[in-house]
């Protein structure tokens, strides 16, 4: 659809006839915390500088300039934040009744999409490694297809065990219909 604001949340560009979206999954929210934390720390920097310069003689004359330059600095931090948010929101895994699609936005003009048909899937494996992934229950899902040397890997998926079970149920329906 040309104007995708009004379409159902379960449809996507390139959807096939009679193809239903079963799952739309983005990476776990934890992947955003590190960039946001650094941006937050950087946002505190002007206030730290203000703490040091407020008692200088020249500060009253330059205070408005200081806060104006701080706003320019915040504009840059805002751009960093929305860029990271955009990358997070545009990177997703779509599981339909026919295939699995990996959409990866790597930059403004850098986009990758990979598709694997359900009937081509040979093996599904989970990989949860580390303190935070274990406690927050997110990890990688690897899909091995028939005849392919390369595995499809979906990184940092929330609740990957449930996603694996859903895909296996869909595979059973595809390979053994009725």
């Amino acid at each position: 659809m040309a104007f995708s604001l009004f379409v159902s949340q379960k449809t996507f560009k390139g959807q096939l006839p009679r193809e239903e979206t079963i799952l739309l999954i983005r990476r776990h929210w934890f992947v955003l915390t590190l960039p946001i934390f650094f941006i937050f720390l950087l946002a505190l920097l002007p206030f730290l500088i203000y703490f040091f310069i407020k008692n200088f003689n020249w500060y009253p004359l330059f205070s408005s300039l200081f806060w104006f330059l701080t706003m320019i600095y915040f504009l840059i931090l805002w751009l960093l934040f929305i860029y990271n948010l955009m990358i997070y929101l545009l990177t997703a895994m779509i599981v339909t009744n026919k295939r699995i699609i990996r959409i990866e936005q790597k930059g403004f003009f850098n986009y990758e999409s990979a598709t694997v048909k359900l009937e081509r899937i040979q093996d599904l494996s989970l990989n949860i490694k580390g303190f935070f992934p274990t406690f927050l229950n997110f990890g990688d899902l690897e899909i091995q297809t028939a005849g392919a040397l390369v595995k499809f890997t979906f990184r940092d998926l929330p609740n990957p065990q449930k996603i694996k079970e859903t895909i296996m149920r869909l595979m059973e329906k595809t390979n053994f219909p009725g």
Binding site: S4, L24, L61, S64, W67, M71, L79, I82, A92
Partner: protein, 71 residues
């Protein structure tokens, strides 16, 4: 003063272009309702920051500052 205005114009143009690209990508390529909602928040947040920047710019006493540094 002219250079200051040119500086502000360039900064805001680059900023608005970046914001436009972000919102365009979210609306055009986003799947599901979250990217669309996020694009609204990005737009509102960007406009608020833009207005605040212009307000702070208008409060700067450029004549006094330029006189102090010798221009």
């Amino acid at each position: 003063m002219k250079f200051v205005l040119i500086f502000l114009f360039v900064v805001l143009t680059v900023y608005l272009w970046f914001v436009f690209l972000t919102i365009y990508h979210l609306v055009r390529f986003g799947v599901g309702k979250e990217p669309k909602s996020a694009s609204l928040y990005v737009f509102l947040g960007s406009m608020i920051l833009l207005i605040l920047t212009v307000i702070y710019f208008s409060q700067v006493n450029w004549k006094e500052i330029l006189k102090f540094i010798g221009f």
